[in-house]
């Protein structure tokens, strides 16, 4: 889902996130645009369950910005570490990193990414390089989906602006 799926009235506007009602209406629009029949039951393969993410920040837009920004930074770092550990066949490190990002992703509602990392965590100990590399590639694909989804809400830009 991108900004282009929104009606002109709800194109992402950083100011909109400063107002709870505007924020929630934009979010509702995003969910409708995604074809979600009911906000409470997002599709299982959606990269980010925004209802879950909002629940985790008590529906506070500022907290959402902070959490999304922190998550993107942490996920980027850990995914980079995972690529390095798989290249080096350092399976203990692969398991540790996959476990960490899987847990954070599950808490934040990034279910497909959490699931693919969980599979990598479980299978890393078998030490099959090609299989683990394939699992990491899938996790990398899901990571990109999550990042694109969050960026489509303008969260990273907003968080950067708020921090400046």
């Amino acid at each position: 889902m991108t900004n282009s799926t929104l009606s002109p009235a709800t194109q992402l506007n950083p100011e909109a996130f400063n107002d709870r009602n505007a924020f929630q209406s934009v979010l509702a629009c995003q969910l409708r645009a995604a074809g979600s029949p009911k906000a409470a039951t997002p599709a299982a393969d959606e990269p980010v369950d925004m209802n879950r993410l909002l629940e985790m920040v008590n529906d506070e837009p500022q907290r959402l910005r902070e959490l999304a920004s922190s998550y993107l930074v942490e996920a980027d770092d850990i995914m980079e570490g995972l690529w390095t550990s798989v290249q080096k066949a350092d399976w203990d490190q692969t398991m540790r990193l996959a476990h960490r990002l899987s847990g954070t992703s599950a808490v934040c509602g990034m279910r497909p990414l959490a699931a693919s990392l969980r599979e990598l965590e479980i299978k890393a100990k078998d030490g099959r390089w090609s299989e683990n590399q394939a699992l990491l590639q899938e996790a990398g694909r899901q990571h990109i989906r999550v990042a694109n989804c969050l960026r489509s809400y303008g969260l990273r830009k907003l968080a950067t602006a708020a921090a400046a």
Partner: protein, 84 residues
């Protein structure tokens, strides 16, 4: 006010749950590793412990053993543990 100690090395998860606990009316404190967790078990005296089983320095299973072996005897009660 009931107290919750979060022993969790992931800052995002720790922050998210601390925020939820505060919103629910709990006093919270956070430790990023097992050693700090043990220190805060003694100083903060939580009613509940949110415990990550894989934390640095002293893992969650060892912390639970410590809680059962020491805190019950010393304080007459032990905090309940939550391991999400």
């Amino acid at each position: 006010m009931k107290r919750i100690l979060s022993i969790e090395d992931d800052p995002i998860i720790s922050s998210v749950y601390s925020s939820k606990y505060k919103a629910a009316g709990f006093a919270t404190s956070a430790a990023a590793d097992g050693d700090d967790g043990l220190r805060q078990l003694k100083s903060f005296k939580p009613d509940f412990v949110h415990l990550d089983l894989q934390v640095p320095k002293l893992n969650g299973a060892e912390i639970i053993k410590h809680i059962r072996a020491n805190l019950q005897r010393r304080y007459g009660r032990a905090p309940s543990s939550i391991a999400p």
